[in-house]
Symmetry: C2
Subunit: 348 residues, 2 copies
Amino acid sequence: MTTIDELETPSVLIDLERMERNIARMQEYCNQHGLGFRPHMKTHKIPDIARLQIEAGAVGIACQKLTEAQVFIDEGFDNIQIPYNIVGAQKTARLADMSMYNRITVSADHPAVISGLADAARANGITIRVMVDLVTEINRTGAPVEEMVTLAQLIDADENLHFAGILVYPSNPTIRPQLQEAIAALNQAGIGVDSVSGGGLGASFHAHEVPELTEIRVGTYVFNDWGSVVKGWASLDDCAMSVLATVVSRPTSDRVILDSGNKTLAADRINDGHGYIVEYPEAHIYQLNEEHGLVDMSKCDDRPIIGERVHVIPVHTCVVTNLHNQIYGVRGDEVEVIWPVAARGLVW
Amino acid sequence: MTTIDELETPSVLIDLERMERNIARMQEYCNQHGLGFRPHMKTHKIPDIARLQIEAGAVGIACQKLTEAQVFIDEGFDNIQIPYNIVGAQKTARLADMSMYNRITVSADHPAVISGLADAARANGITIRVMVDLVTEINRTGAPVEEMVTLAQLIDADENLHFAGILVYPSNPTIRPQLQEAIAALNQAGIGVDSVSGGGLGASFHAHEVPELTEIRVGTYVFNDWGSVVKGWASLDDCAMSVLATVVSRPTSDRVILDSGNKTLAADRINDGHGYIVEYPEAHIYQLNEEHGLVDMSKCDDRPIIGERVHVIPVHTCVVTNLHNQIYGVRGDEVEVIWPVAARGLVW
């Protein structure tokens, strides 16, 4: 059995006990409130972890890209939601092909998107399942309530499309009035809403305050990260992912350089820092170059020596997994499993 | 022959004509000034591109990690500089092993690093080539002049280490006084300095103003990026890399969403933006989520429609290559070559 000490750095470690606890807790919350839970694969991109999530009781999975979905289909997964506008003849053709033998649901926020999906579905003689994406306070994708009805009617009227409900991200309680309005307007237009899918880690804790939701999709909860801790969504003990790093330089007593830069930890910042060093809680990772993490130790009583190893809890776990060919599942000091990050870096 | 239109998005394109021009120009500058040129592999991580750089006249290559170096060794490259403290028994053992049949040069900024290298070299009965890393204005790694002499003496005195000169990053003309001081101090200590290696794209244009430099290592020049343009180091015409992206949503007339987020373009920002859209120069990529690029089009006269494709010049080319399994070399409308990004995501 390989021990953590035998791993080279930088390596991404997953504390399996914490991950299992995270999986169980979120599922339990959803079970308690009669919510379907749909873990988001973008966070780990690893079929073996998805299997644990399904075994715990998840209703299906969410993927952010077609390529991600294809990897999970190849591994035997079905009931896949892709909360994204699938646009362009090549992509819609692939989606149609994937939908032939799999239950896949996508979203749409514009007639042009719906029209592209309908063309592909018709050409392949199949039905594509489409949700309507409701705009929220983050102002990313999504249509306002009045346009949603038109979109749902377009979907409903097309014999190769199936109206699969409403999609919101994030599904914070602030969205509830629009959601109620949307459901009422759709009902009035004669369109039933069977499914309302919410999402986001922060929103997930308030899902029971939005009883219109039938399911939620969350990715980050499985590992959590320093961003979740800072936002009050997780405790340090909930953070299953850490990056094992080595102190490679200590040019001054206050400055330490780790072998983990933005090709390891990703460039994300929160509170002006790039992560949390477990062994030196007062340390401040103030800058990342590609293979250098620059740390200010001036507030720390102890200082690491060159060669010392530390665990860094990264700011955003979903982009960290995506940077590595493989990550290590550990229990205590032992490496229990090595997972290839199957669905990363894929081109289409 | 595949055309660019047939590629799915997001895809990373390399304009081969521009890349070839960039390679030729930098080599010509170095030839003119009698400087050795050592392209940095971290930017592309692709052996075929390195071969073009060597054919143009490069003296060798630079790699930022041992894993990167191993990929290039396996592809027949020799004369590899790794401007990094190689720390820890596993890594120094690997370095010793790699040094057995290859000319590899590393750097060191502390006696502990030198001692680790010496132990590994002795255990393998070989000589490891070590440069001394001089601290610069960026205050990352590196020792000040007075400590450098001690470090060089330690290297020089060890029968399994070879003192291979001085390393500086970046080698802006501002470093010249310390460099002169360091060389004089080393000479006075009876240690000859055969090689002074500088680096950095911005510094490269001023390398002839620092005649102490014997060679420079630069990575970004081969593709250039929006960061280089903003800093005045490259023109838009010099940017060989672009990300082919699709407009997947246009929720308002001012807001457009691209299918390229921080898992495609990386999270880097400059001037508060995440890149430059060739077709819409006034567009502002103000936010990236994982698979969403949020663009403010309010300053643009024309607006793209859903399904339209655009070319985004990313902020930092070196971190973009690292996110993709393969990139596409294009000439005109044709895809001439598909390069796997061989040295990305490797764990040790």
